[in-house]
């Protein structure tokens, strides 16, 4: 997915051409290039793609250290809540609000790490990328190894009902989507993390096996901490620092990062249709940059904080590719 160097560009362009060539050689097809489903011929599509890549390149990378500071700083503060709560030195309502923010926002920093946007795998700083990912999703009891594998599957098979691990978030309306974020976490429902565990078991790769082990370990740790704190007389503290913020965070993440940008999912698996551009009632920041999530699906190496800027630069090209750009 990353476009590193000219080889990446050539590969993308070649893929575009190949897709069209396949259509042109179909039985009964004409000898001259046929129009694609977007009404553009192969030359226009190729030209637009070249322009798109050139624009997108301007927004890849940039300052990523704020993600590192946010991830490690927030995790350290959140961790300090536990001893502070036991020592009765904590303002619990404030800690609850902050824990909800950390649990929710942690996914954003982790998400950058999933795509190795903080440091590339061949970099000597790659360990920073990995540890940003690892600590960010601990408050929502979602190990980085699982999060990364499932998120990449989501990118590879976006909106495929059988292969997209996030397809179970689909719901006909926003209200029902909020409900489903909770429903999918029920112990007997094959959604959310339960579906992820099933998919990992089916994948059968060493990475999937490790992700499954990490998940079991983190879930057991979560339960052990909750039980120990609860029976030690700190049940309310455990509920407000970890248990409830996890639920709030997971619901918020599922709604804004999965349902809102991909609804309606059915039949929309194409590159320019699997994610929609929308105007959020809560604005760009509170919807965690999801208004322009399409840019992320097109170019995952553009960091989250630059997708809006990139979207406006790409907007004329996207409009020509058939993207509905009317809402933003």
């Amino acid at each position: 997915m990353a476009l590193d160097g000219m080889a990446g560009e050539a590969h993308l362009l070649a893929r575009e051409g190949a897709e069209h060539d396949t259509r042109a050689r179909s039985p009964g097809g004409a000898a001259i290039p046929l129009l694609g489903p977007d009404g553009l011929d192969r030359h226009v599509r190729r030209d637009l793609r070249k322009q798109e890549i050139a624009v997108a390149r301007q927004f890849m990378g940039g300052r990523m250290w704020p993600y590192v500071v946010a991830a490690w700083g927030c995790f350290a503060v959140w961790l300090s809540f536990f001893p502070l709560a036991v020592m009765h030195w904590l303002n619990l309502p404030l800690a609850f609000v902050l824990s909800c923010i950390f649990a929710t926002g942690g996914y954003v920093t982790s998400h950058e790490a999933m795509h190795s946007n903080i440091a590339r795998p061949n970099s000597r700083h790659y360990w920073i990328n990995e540890w940003v990912g690892k600590v960010s999703t601990i408050p929502i009891v979602f190990p980085f190894s699982m999060a990364r594998l499932m998120h990449l599957e989501h990118h590879y098979h976006c909106n495929d009902p059988q292969k997209d691990p996030d397809y179970s978030d689909e719901a006909p309306s926003a209200l029902k989507a909020w409900y489903k974020t909770w429903y999918n976490r029920q112990p007997g429902v094959d959604g959310s993390i339960h579906a992820y565990k099933r998919i990992l078991a089916e994948m059968g790769t060493p990475e999937a096996a490790k992700a499954l082990r990490d998940t079991l370990k983190l879930q057991l740790l979560f339960m052990a901490v909750l039980f120990a704190m609860a029976w030690g007389g700190y049940a309310i503290e455990a509920a407000l620092i970890w248990w409830l913020p996890r639920h709030v965070g997971l619901s918020y993440i599922r709604f804004y990062l999965s349902w809102a940008p991909h609804h309606p999912r059915e039949g929309r698996t194409g590159r320019y249709e699997n994610t929609k551009v929308f105007k959020s009632r809560l604005g760009h920041v509170l919807s965690m940059g999801m208004e322009t999530h399409l840019v992320h699906h097109l170019y995952p190496n553009i960091p989250n904080h630059r997708t809006k800027e990139a979207y406006f630069a790409l907007k004329p090209i996207l409009a020509q590719r058939g993207v509905d750009t009317s809402s933003l």
Binding site: Q186, P187, G188, V189, L216, Q219, M223, L226, F227, A230, W231, G233, A235, I236, A238, A239, W243
Partner: protein
């Protein structure tokens, strides 16, 4: 090992009812200074709610 873990996660809602919900109910009652009915201790009352609720969630696969 895998089978044991599978069984552990199957009974986890029940354990959660006893391990977390029961003391949470008891401590919330204590925080609001609410006494348990029928002269019971708050933790006994919490267990009376948490254990069957967890068992229900384990068997039904839903908390509600």
């Amino acid at each position: 090992m895998e089978l044991a873990l599978r069984k552990l996660f199957y009974v986890m809602p029940f354990l959660f009812g006893i391990g977390f919900i029961a003391p949470l109910i008891a401590q919330t009652m204590a925080y609001w200074d609410v006494a348990a009915p029928f002269g019971m201790s708050r933790i006994a009352f919490g267990l009376m709610i948490g254990a069957p609720w967890g068992l229900y969630a384990m068997l039904r696969g839903r908390w509600i």
